[in-house]
């Protein structure tokens, strides 16, 4: 994936992750019952806990490491609105990652250069931010899961 100095990096989706001080997913936490939600709910969305009637959340940074709950790949080019980045299409892997402290599992593509042969259930991964696709003005950034080196 080529990057040129003229393109500005921007998140592919607003408000779901941040780059500073270090890359992290941004969820929300209910101010009443502390339930964690990801992706962050839009305005006036109620708390998903059926025994809580609150609709007030505070921003909550999710853990940046977790373990692979499961994984797969996309050997065929997904249909639109997916935007292919190469021609011909190159498959990519996806992993569902268990963020134990937050008690939830988050799906993401696996970092560039890694495929299913590099993955295993239970393996530790770290959140990274990479370019999902580019257009003339922007590199559209997205979170990905990168296997940690030195796996035993």
């Amino acid at each position: 994936m080529s990057q040129t100095a003229s393109r500005t990096p921007i998140p592919a989706v607003d408000g779901w992750f941040e780059l500073e001080p270090e890359p992290a997913l941004i969820g929300a936490r209910c101010v009443e019952c502390s339930t964690v939600v990801f992706p962050p709910p839009s305005e006036s969305t109620p708390c998903p806990n059926p025994r809580c009637a609150s609709d007030r959340f505070e921003s909550h940074r999710l853990a940046t490491t977790g373990t692979i709950w499961s994984y797969t790949d996309a050997q065929y080019q997904p249909p639109p609105p997916y935007i292919p980045t190469t021609d011909p299409y190159e498959p990519f892997a996806l992993a569902a990652v268990d963020l134990a402290d937050d008690g939830l599992i988050v799906l993401g593509q696996v970092a560039e250069g890694f495929g299913v042969d590099d993955l295993a259930v239970g393996m530790q991964v770290t959140l990274v931010i990479e370019t999902l696709y580019s257009d003339d003005q922007h590199d559209h950034l997205m979170w990905r899961w990168r296997p940690e080196g030195d796996q035993s």
Partner: protein
């Protein structure tokens, strides 16, 4: 007058395939077959429910009324059910409840669809608040992505092999060989599966169901009405499950990016797919040991194995052994998908939960021909609709 017992008086299908006609064509054909099977005139039906699909502006062209108009306006009461893949079961639930309440006597439930080629995908346009659109844009996560995740879990947790997955396909292909309504009627070998390209590791093309056109319909009536019809082979609806998940749902499901969080609320002991079956068993007053035959939702071969456990046909982690021992094959302890399942039919979303009920009706009457499960008296269907729609129907003689 209230009724305790609701029976399936008629069942019918339009053969599944890629026919390219309007969905109401298949629905009307299935409805006419079901009405003829019941020995009932369309004009005797006092309630019609259509299983809805979502396409082209009007959802499913407002399915219940579309079928009613195509059959000829008769003044019947009407409803339309949208529950994604569970639409047919939810439609049956509504019809059954009206009959039990004494508000209707004879109901016609119809589902039909015409499916576009290729991956099921969102309709065009930018919809940044729609998780189903976002998962394609931001993750490239198609439906097989999720099936792949579940399949990989079975390999890791329970020692499943891709050969086990292939054997599900081989079994269902053989079951469906002589089913006149099935789209694919051809033997498949494990080598055929292994030779097909990987779609979503570890699943190959022949592990994943196709998209199809098709229709299915059932006629429901009170047991009193069935006696007047002189129905010598009544099949009773014993339980219908339309449950939603219980928070927190800790299994990642289409079209979501993440599960609910279990950090604050402890998850229920019964996960969503388990709860779908449990509710049907509870309503029917029957249990897994009573079940003689099951029609389950084999969107992927590996997913069928999950359902064996969700229906408690075997213990957790024992599905591969259950399959290998032949228990889910016709002639085995609890044959699963004697119709051939989605492996032989493919998906026609508003019709498939009804197609499962049609198959069980024929099985329980002993009318299933070369795929008959001998002595079947109790059958269960299982299915899951996107966005949290449970679907399970229990029938008995």
């Amino acid at each position: 007058m209230k009724h305790d017992d609701v029976v399936i008086a008629g069942a019918g299908m339009h053969p599944w395939g890629k026919w390219g006609r309007h969905f109401s064509t298949y629905g009307v054909a299935a409805a006419r077959t079901a009405l003829a099977d019941a020995g009932i005139e369309w004009t005797d039906v006092d309630f019609i429910v259509g299983g809805e699909t979502v396409r082209n502006g009007y959802p499913g062209y407002v399915a219940g009324a579309t079928f009613a108009q195509a059959l000829g306006w008769s003044g019947a009461r009407v409803a339309t059910s949208y529950a994604a893949c569970a639409s047919g079961a939810q439609a049956i639930d509504v019809a059954r409840a009206r009959i039990m309440a004494g508000l209707s006597e004879v109901a016609l439930v119809v589902g039909a669809d015409t499916t576009p080629k290729g991956f099921l995908a969102p309709v065009a346009g930018d919809r940044w608040d729609d998780p189903d659109w976002l998962r394609f844009r931001l993750l490239g996560a198609t439906n097989p992505t999720y099936f792949g995740l579940y399949a990989r879990r079975r390999i890791d947790l329970y020692g499943a092999t891709t050969d086990d997955f292939a054997h599900v396909k081989v079994k269902n292909a053989r079951h469906g060989l002589h089913n006149p309504n099935a789209r694919y009627r051809k033997e498949v070998t494990t080598d055929d599966v292994a030779a097909s390209p990987v779609v979503a590791d570890p699943l190959r093309l022949l592990d994943i169901c196709a998209t199809s056109d098709g229709g299915a319909a059932v006629v429901l009536c009170s047991a009193d009405y069935a006696r007047r019809l002189d129905d010598a082979r009544p099949v009773r609806v014993r339980g219908v499950s339309t449950v939603t998940p219980t928070y927190p749902n800790t299994v990642i499901e289409m079209p979501n990016f993440a599960t609910d969080s279990s950090a604050v609320v402890t998850p229920s002991d019964t996960a969503f797919r388990d709860a779908i079956a449990a509710a049907a068993y509870a309503e029917a007053g029957l249990g897994p040991d009573d079940v003689d035959v099951a029609e389950v939702y084999d969107l992927s071969t590996a997913l069928e194995l999950d359902w064996y456990e969700n229906l408690q046909l075997c213990g957790v982690g024992e599905a591969e052994k259950f399959l290998r021992d032949g228990h889910s094959t016709i002639g085995g302890r609890t044959p699963v998908n004697p119709s051939g399942g989605l492996a032989c039919f493919g998906e026609a979303v508003p019709a498939q939960a009804l197609a499962q009920v049609c198959e069980l009706t024929w099985q329980l009457r002993g009318e299933a021909g070369d795929r008959q499960v001998e002595g079947a008296r109790v059958g269960i269907t299982a299915n899951q609709g996107l966005f949290g729609h449970g679907s399970s129907v229990i029938l008995s003689t």
